[in-house]
C-alpha cells in the first residue's frame, strides 16, 4: 500500500479523521475529502474489526472450499463467481490459478450450516463441477494480525 493515508487506515481504521490528519501531518479537510471520495468510488469498501473468535467465546465454523467451475462464453467465471459471492454465508471468494477455479471461504454457526450450504446451494448450481471442503482447525494469522498476545516490550526505559 503506497498511499500513507490508506496504509494507516488499514491498521488504524478507528482513528478519527482528526487523528489521521494529525498522524500524517495533513489538513483535516483534505483527509475528510479524500476518505469521502474513496468511500464513494468503492476504493474503501468498509471497515472491520479483526476478532479472535475463540477469545470472544464465539468460535464458529469456517471452511475453505475449492470449487471447479465451467467457464462461460463471454464472461468466463465472473457471473457464476459473483452469484456464489453474494450468499451471506460466503465471507471471501477469490478466482485462483492452479488445480481449481474458486477459493470460497464460508462461515457458519456449526458444521451442519456449512455442510448444508455446500450440498444444497453451492454444489447444485449449474456450472459447478466439483467442490472440496477444508474445515478450519485453528487460526494463526488473519489480515496481518497474529493470533497471539505479543510479549511485553523488552526495551529498557532509558538508553543512550
Amino acid at each position: 500500500m503506497k498511499d500513507p493515508l490508506l496504509k494507516l487506515l488499514k491498521s488504524k481504521a478507528r482513528f478519527s479523521n482528526t487523528e489521521l490528519a494529525e498522524a500524517l501531518s495533513l489538513q483535516v479537510d483534505a483527509v475528510n475529502d479524500q476518505i469521502s471520495q474513496w468511500e464513494g468510488d468503492g476504493t474503501i469498501l468498509g471497515y472491520q474489526a479483526v476478532i479472535d473468535d475463540e477469545k470472544a467465546g464465539e468460535m464458529g465454523v469456517a471452511a475453505f472450499i475449492e470449487v471447479k467451475l465451467t467457464p462461460e462464453r463471454g464472461g468466463g467465471f465472473d457471473r457464476l463467481a459473483m452469484r456464489i459471492a453474494r450468499f451471506d454465508q460466503v465471507s471471501s471468494c477469490y478466482l485462483t490459478s492452479g488445480g481449481y477455479d474458486l477459493m470460497v471461504v464460508v462461515e457458519g454457526q456449526g458444521l451442519r450450516d456449512v455442510a448444508q450450504f455446500v450440498s444444497e446451494k453451492l454444489s447444485t448450481l449449474d456450472g459447478v463441477l466439483s467442490t472440496a471442503t477444508h474445515f478450519r482447525l485453528k487460526a494463526y494469522k488473519e489480515n496481518g494480525f497474529i493470533f497471539e498476545t505479543e510479549e511485553p516490550e523488552g526495551r529498557l526505559p532509558v538508553t543512550p
Binding site: R155, P157, V158, T159, P160
Partner: protein
C-alpha cells in the same frame, strides 16, 4: 580493601553517565511513557530473526574470521558501494565489530598516542568523550548550535584544531539532535581535514534514517577523504537490530589492520548468529527498513508539530529518531525540567546536558514509540508546561 586505590586512574577519572542516573529514577516508576530510549520500537523484522534461528539450527555456532564472515563482508562491500558510493575491498578494508561502539573504541585506540587531541562535536553520543579518554587521548569539544540546526560549523572546527589534533569524530545524523550536515559545510570540513592531515572517524549509524529531499552524503566520498576516513556503520538502527550488537568499519587496509590487531585479542570475532542475521538484513531487508523509516518520518512530523503547538520551540531534525526541543524559555535547567516532567506527568525524556554541556537547555525526546504513546506523551507535556 580500599578499592578506589585498585581502580586505574584512567577509569576512575571517567564520570558516571548522566543517563544512568536518570535511568534508575525512571525504572522505579510504573506507567511511565518513555521518550528516553535510544533504539527502535520495532522488533527486528521476522525474516532477519528467522535467519538467525536457521543458522543456529544448522549448527553455525563457531568462531568466524577475525574480520567477520567473508560472505557478510562481501555483502557489506556491495551495500556500502551502493548506499554511500564508496568502494571497499571485502578482503582487507572491512572489519565486522560488536556494534559501532566497539569500532569507535578500536579506532581510537589504534590511532591515538597519549596526549594527542581528538575533536568531536557536542551534544553527542555519550560514549565519545569517555572512549577518547580511555584511549589516552585529549577530548576537544566543538559545540554545535540550534541556530545551525546543530550542524558542525567549519569555522568553529578550524578554531579547535591544534598541531596536536589527530582525529575528528563525526556523527551525522546525530544522536541526540537528529542533525544532518549541509553538503557545502561538510565539504569545507573535508578540506580542513586534508589541510591538517586528520583522520576522520565518521559514525554514520543513522544514515538510512534521513527524511529530507537530499540523500545522505558521507564525508568519505569527498576529495582526498577516502584515504583518511574510517566509515562506521551497523545494523542497530535502520534494521532494528540493537540487541544483535553488530557494526562494521570500512577504511584503508592499514587502518583496518591496526584495528583488527586489538579486535582479534579483545573480541576475537563478532557473534556468528548476529553475522548470519546481518547478512539476511543486507540481502533482503530493504523493504522492511523503508517501511520503518516511513513510520519514523510520520512520527517526527507529528512530534515536531505538537511540540511547537504547545509552545516548545523544536526544529525539525533531518534524521535519526530524536527531536531536541529548546526548553530554555522556561528558565529551569534541563535536569530540573526532565525530573519535574517525570514526577508530575510520568513522561521520561533525557536532559540535554547528558550529551555534553552544549545540550544544556534542551531535552532529547526519542519518537521511536507508538503513535498512541506519543499522543499521550504530548498531551502530558502540554499539561506540564502550563504549570511552569
Amino acid at each position: 580493601m580500599d578499592y578506589s586505590k585498585k581502580i586505574s586512574k584512567q577509569v576512575a577519572g571517567i564520570p558516571r553517565s548522566g543517563i544512568r542516573d536518570f535511568f534508575e529514577l525512571v525504572q522505579g516508576r510504573d506507567d511511565v511513557i518513555s521518550l528516553g530510549v535510544g533504539e527502535p520500537d520495532f522488533a527486528t523484522p521476522w525474516h532477519i530473526r528467522e535467519a538467525a534461528i536457521y543458522s543456529l539450527e544448522k549448527g553455525f555456532t563457531s568462531y568466524t574470521s577475525n574480520l567477520g564472515l567473508l560472505s557478510l563482508r562481501k555483502a557489506i562491500s556491495r551495500y556500502v558501494d551502493d548506499f554511500f558510493k564508496v568502494n571497499y575491498s571485502a578482503d582487507s578494508e572491512i572489519l565486522v565489530t560488536v556494534g559501532v561502539s566497539e569500532a569507535i573504541d578500536l579506532a581510537l585506540r589504534a590511532l591515538i598516542n597519549p596526549g594527542e587531541e581528538v575533536v568531536f562535536h557536542t551534544p553527542c553520543y555519550v560514549s565519545y568523550l569517555p572512549s577518547i579518554a580511555l584511549a589516552y587521548g585529549v577530548p576537544v569539544e566543538v559545540p554545535t548550535k540550534k541556530e545551525d540546526n546543530f550542524a558542525l560549523r567549519a569555522d568553529m572546527l578550524e578554531a579547535a584544531i591544534t598541531p596536536q589534533t589527530r582525529v575528528l569524530m563525526l556523527n551525522f545524523p546525530t544522536n541526540p539532535t537528529g542533525a544532518v550536515m549541509p553538503v557545502d559545510e561538510l565539504e569545507k570540513i573535508a578540506q580542513l581535514c586534508v589541510k591538517n592531515d586528520l583522520i576522520v572517524l565518521s559514525d554514520e549509524i543513522y544514515c538510512e534514517l534521513c527524511y529530507g529531499e537530499d540523500e545522505h552524503v558521507s564525508i568519505a566520498t569527498m576529495p582526498g577523504m577516502r584515504e583518511r576516513t574510517i566509515l562506521l556503520h551497523g545494523f542497530s538502527k535502520a534494521f532494528a537490530m540493537t540487541g544483535f550488537r553488530l557494526g562494521y568499519a570500512c577504511a584503508p587496509a592499514p587502518l583496518i589492520e591496526a584495528m583488527m590487531k586489538i579486535h582479534q585479542y579483545a573480541m576475537l570475532c563478532a557473534p556468528m548468529t548476529s553475522q548470519a542475521a546481518a547478512l539476511e538484513a543486507l540481502e533482503n531487508g530493504e523493504a522492511a527498513m523503508l517501511e520503518m523509516r516511513e513510520s519514523y518520518h510520520q512520527r517526527r512530523d507529528f512530534v515536531v508539530g505538537r511540540l511547537n503547538d504547545i509552545g516548545i520551540e523544536c526544529h525539525s531534525p533531518g534524521g535519526a529518531f530524536y527531536v531536541f526541543p529548546d526548553i530554555r524559555k522556561f528558565g529551569i535547567s534541563s535536569q530540573e525540567f526532565a525530573m519535574r516532567l517525570l514526577e508530575a506527568e510520568d513522561v521520561a525524556a533525557v536532559p540535554g546536558d547528558a550529551f555534553g554541556q552544549a545540550g544544556e537547555g534542551f531535552l532529547r525526546c526519542c519518537y521511536a514509540t507508538s503513535l498512541d504513546e506519543l499522543k499521550t506523551a504530548m498531551d502530558r507535556i502540554e499539561r506540564f508546561v502550563a504549570t511552569l
